[in-house]
């Protein structure tokens, strides 16, 4: 029973650490942080997203792919070779961990779109990559691209997160932004693709909660060339942010106001300009409101945003310490890894985003036209 066939609800732990001065640090901190919240997972899913880890390949999309078998890998590589310039290809470096059982084959490819194909498709390289990833995930049985961003990667497994970290040797990577997820699904999926974070391009999302608006969100976002193959909240949340920020050019703040808008009575109290703006925003994108309990960490190459549902039905704590900003489901997970005395620690209010961008960055997502 894989994700995509059924919808599986789950409770979880999440954590994220960013160094806004882009100081690089290893995966050890985030593993320790998430390990504190061991009780919030049940060994059926754990994973990490790490930014800045592939400094040599900044221009390439790093595809992390699970294969059920050799056939699936063959088909996928045929597809990649046909459509993409494939740079470095390697099996994911792993460490044997007793509690991590029956891993699939895990490979990574550093790729770019073929110019000819890009011209034919008439789309941006990002969009082209999105389509390519979706095509693989939808059409090649036994293959699943679970990470496709630049200079970043997602690492996930059916395991406790700290074991997954060990398994993927994350202590050996260095990044400026790490997020982690420990999962407590309510039944027993055996599929690695279903673990978190979910990734698309640079986006990655870890999430704790259950979105009651899921089908409204999904059916809306699917109008705009997304296909929710996993039926997971993280998948749809990732698409929503991609849609709002990358496709509709909304700022991260506005995107947060779409998914967790103020109550109408709060909007009514705003000044005329903001009132109209929020009214338009909510009226237009009502179907993208994420309802039900959630705390999420959305990350992209320029930073991260932690957000609670608007009535705060899930725990979320944030803290600052110099250039570092921490978020986690529990305060202890932050205190455990904080280097010095925390300058500020607080529980963000429902619907109030905690946004931490790299110094000098305008927005969370490095938009392609700007990058070029």
């Amino acid at each position: 029973m894989n994700e995509g066939k059924v919808r599986i609800s789950s409770g979880c732990a999440i954590a994220g650490i960013i160094d806004r001065k882009r100081e690089m640090f290893s995966g050890t901190d985030i593993i320790e942080s998430i390990a504190v919240m061991h009780e919030r997972s049940n060994g059926l899913g754990g994973g990490f997203a790490a930014y800045g880890i592939y400094p040599g390949y900044e221009d390439c999309y790093a595809l992390h792919i699970f294969f059920d078998d050799k056939g699936a890998r063959q088909k996928t590589e045929d597809f990649l070779n046909c459509n993409l310039k494939v740079g470095m290809t390697e099996a994911m470096p792993l460490r044997k961990v007793k509690t991590v059982k029956k891993p699939p084959q895990i490979w990574r490819y550093f790729v770019r779109a073929k110019e000819q194909k890009l011209m034919e498709a008439g789309m941006s390289e990002d969009e082209f990559m999105v389509q390519a990833v979706m095509k693989i995930n939808k059409t090649i049985k036994g293959a699943y691209v679970f990470s496709s961003g630049k200079n970043m990667g997602v690492f996930k497994a059916v395991a406790y997160p700290e074991d997954a970290g060990e398994f993927y040797r994350l202590d050996e990577y260095k990044g400026y932004l790490w997020t982690a997820h420990g999962r407590f699904p309510t039944n027993t999926p055996g599929w690695w693709g279903g673990a978190h974070p979910f990734n698309l391009l640079d986006w990655s999302v870890v999430h704790n909660g259950e979105i009651s608006s899921y089908d409204a969100n999904r059916r809306f976002i699917e109008m705009y060339e997304y296909e929710c193959t996993l039926q997971t909240d993280t998948e749809v949340i990732t698409y929503i942010f991609d849609f709002l920020i990358r496709k509709n050019n909304l700022s991260i703040e506005k995107a947060a106001a779409v998914v967790a808008p103020p109550l109408w009575e709060q909007i009514a109290e705003k000044d005329q300009k903001n009132r109209e703006k929020l009214r338009r925003l909510r009226g237009t994108y009502g179907s993208l409101l994420l309802n039900g309990p959630f705390s999420i960490i959305l990350s992209a190459s320029n930073g991260m945003m932690a957000l609670n549902d608007r009535i705060k039905l899930r725990s979320l704590v944030a803290a600052e310490e110099g250039s570092r900003l921490y978020v986690a489901s529990e305060e202890a997970a932050i205190r455990r890894v904080a280097r010095e005395k925390l300058e500020r620690i607080w529980a963000p209010r429902g619907g109030e985003p905690v946004i931490a961008l790299l110094e000098g960055a305008d927005d969370i997502f490095l938009k392609q036209d700007e990058a070029n």
Binding site: S9, G11, S212, S213, R219, E222, M223, L250, Y285, N291
Partner: protein, 499 residues
């Protein structure tokens, strides 16, 4: 003449032990069923005129009256049911089309009743509407993609209707219903932060102050339409069809066209008001587009334009065409929708259930990626709050209620609206009968009904862990089907219970 073969449909039972001879029944029956008989010194009831409207039953202060279906049945015949035989008698007598009122009363399946709702357990908390806000505000109109850079946050790009709850009052014209019905609907709509639709026939001068809560109709007869009305109204609805009688026009007989109706419709007193079956300037979709934009021009693009169609077989394609023709709102009226008068053969046999029509339209518009560019309002027998919740979950932005509103105003569903002798002061223009509907009471009852439904909708939403109605719209995972076959489930886009 010969003998009339049509038997009385009802019997009036008077409990003489309780009858105090007060004659309220006598003066309340516009059909002259009851009369005081000087010779008998008692009230005599002439059953054959009884339409089972219960006016006398409700008004009898001692509860002495009850109405029963006439027990006289024909010899059992599963094929030749009573109604077929009676209808043949009627038509053999009259040579005319059988008329009826209100909606389709045949025992077609009601799909609302074959869908059940979800609720949160353990993994997701339900929300208590008494403790947490649950929001029912809805905007109807075109939602263009917003873009920070394009400065599209101006409010007047596309006009919206703002509803405090996803329920509006469906089109019922002044003429088919009394002015007091309009007054009650208008006041209730204002109080509840929603809209009422004046139907084809304009808006009476007394209701001008409520225009910002009024949706006006442009229908095939164009009655009462003028630029000022279009400009003052909250929105304009082009009526193509009606669920109770798709493909059929309307006919308000001259005797109902008194001074007030005539003034409002802008026609001579006593003249028949005939709405043709089609709009004679709309023979194709591109003609509709012209009318939509003619109305938009006339209203400076400040009013949403809705197009109302009956749910018919290829409704999904029709709806897509309407959306592409520029309508801001599509209103779909299912085959159980009500009417003041329709040929029975049409009412009972034409059109499809609103549940299927809604599911098909919502799905089609999504497949075409244009669902957010048009709002869907559904009508045609929304009976309670759970019907509304299910409609929204299937994909509707809001619903229209017509029959339910009339029932709140006192309608007892006798289906005799076309006679003009409505004892409840609803479907009549007789001043004595119209008085019977006090619009203040009416408005209060409508407000109560919507308030009650509002509470129930919030309870249901809260149970599902949803605190804003927009998160339910099209959220078909919240529905499961019971007793539906695979094809029906597929059309509705829902899973079976247990799946």
């Amino acid at each position: 003449m010969g003998i009339n073969l049509v038997m009385q449909e009802y019997e009036v039972l008077r409990n003489e032990a309780k009858c105090i001879g007060c004659k309220i029944c006598v003066n309340q029956c516009a059909n002259n069923v009851h009369r005081w008989d000087e010779d008998w010194q008692m009230i005599i009831s002439d059953d054959k005129y009884c339409v089972n409207c219960h006016r006398c039953v409700v008004f009898c202060p001692t509860g002495a009256l009850s109405i029963r279906k006439n027990a006289n049945d024909f010899t059992f015949n599963a094929n030749w049911e009573n109604r077929h035989i009676k209808n043949i008698y009627r038509q053999a007598q009259s040579g005319g089309v059988l008329l009826t009122g209100m909606g389709n009363d045949r025992p077609y399946p009601v799909y609302w009743d074959k869908m059940v709702l979800n609720a949160s357990q353990v993994t997701n908390p339900s929300i208590d509407p008494l403790r947490e806000p649950i929001e029912l505000k809805v905007f109807l109109g075109r939602k263009s993609a917003l873009n920070e850079k394009d400065e599209v946050f101006k409010d007047d790009i596309f006009p919206w209707l703002e509803l405090d709850l996803p329920v509006m009052f469906s089109a019922m014209s002044f003429g088919s219903v009394s002015l007091n019905v309009h007054k009650a609907l208008a006041r209730a709509a204002e109080t509840m932060g929603t809209y009422w639709n004046a139907g084809e026939g304009g808006v009476h001068a007394d209701l001008k102050k409520s225009m910002n809560h009024t949706i006006v109709q442009v229908a095939s007869g164009r009655f009462g339409v003028n630029p000022a009305m279009l400009k003052e109204a909250a929105a304009v609805e082009i009526k193509i069809g009606q669920g109770a009688k798709p493909g059929i026009g309307g006919h308000l007989p001259g005797e109902k066209v008194g001074q007030e109706v005539a003034d409002t419709r802008m026609i001579p007193v006593g003249s028949d008001a005939i709405s043709p079956a089609p709009h004679h300037d709309i023979y194709s979709i591109e003609d509709l587009k012209q009318l939509i934009f003619a109305i938009k021009e006339a209203t400076d693009y400040k009013k949403p334009v809705a197009v109302k169609v009956a749910a018919v077989h290829n409704i999904a394609a029709i709806a897509s065409g309407i959306a592409r023709a520029g309508a801001d709102i599509i209103v779909i009226d299912g085959f159980r929708g009500g009417t003041g008068a329709a040929p029975q053969a049409i009412r009972d046999n034409v059109g499809i259930p609103i549940e299927f029509a809604l599911a098909a339209v919502d799905q089609r518009l999504r497949e075409e990626g244009i669902r957010n560019e048009v709002s869907i309002v559904v009508a045609g027998s929304i009976r309670n709050s759970s019907d509304i919740v299910k409609a929204v979950a299937l994909g509707a932005d809001a619903v229209y209620i017509g029959t339910a509103a009339l029932i709140a105003l006192g309608c007892h569903m006798c289906q005799k609206c076309y006679t003009g002798k409505c004892n409840w002061g609803i479907a009549t223009q007789d001043p004595k009968l119209v008085k019977r509907l006090n619009p203040e009471i009416g408005a209060r009852k409508l407000v109560n009904l919507l308030t009650a439904w509002q509470h129930e909708i919030k309870e249901m939403l809260g149970g599902m862990g949803i605190n804003a109605i927009e998160s339910l719209r099209g959220n078909r995972l919240m529905l499961r089907g019971i007793g539906l076959n695979k094809k029906e489930l597929e059309i509705l886009g829902i899973k079976a219970a247990g799946e």
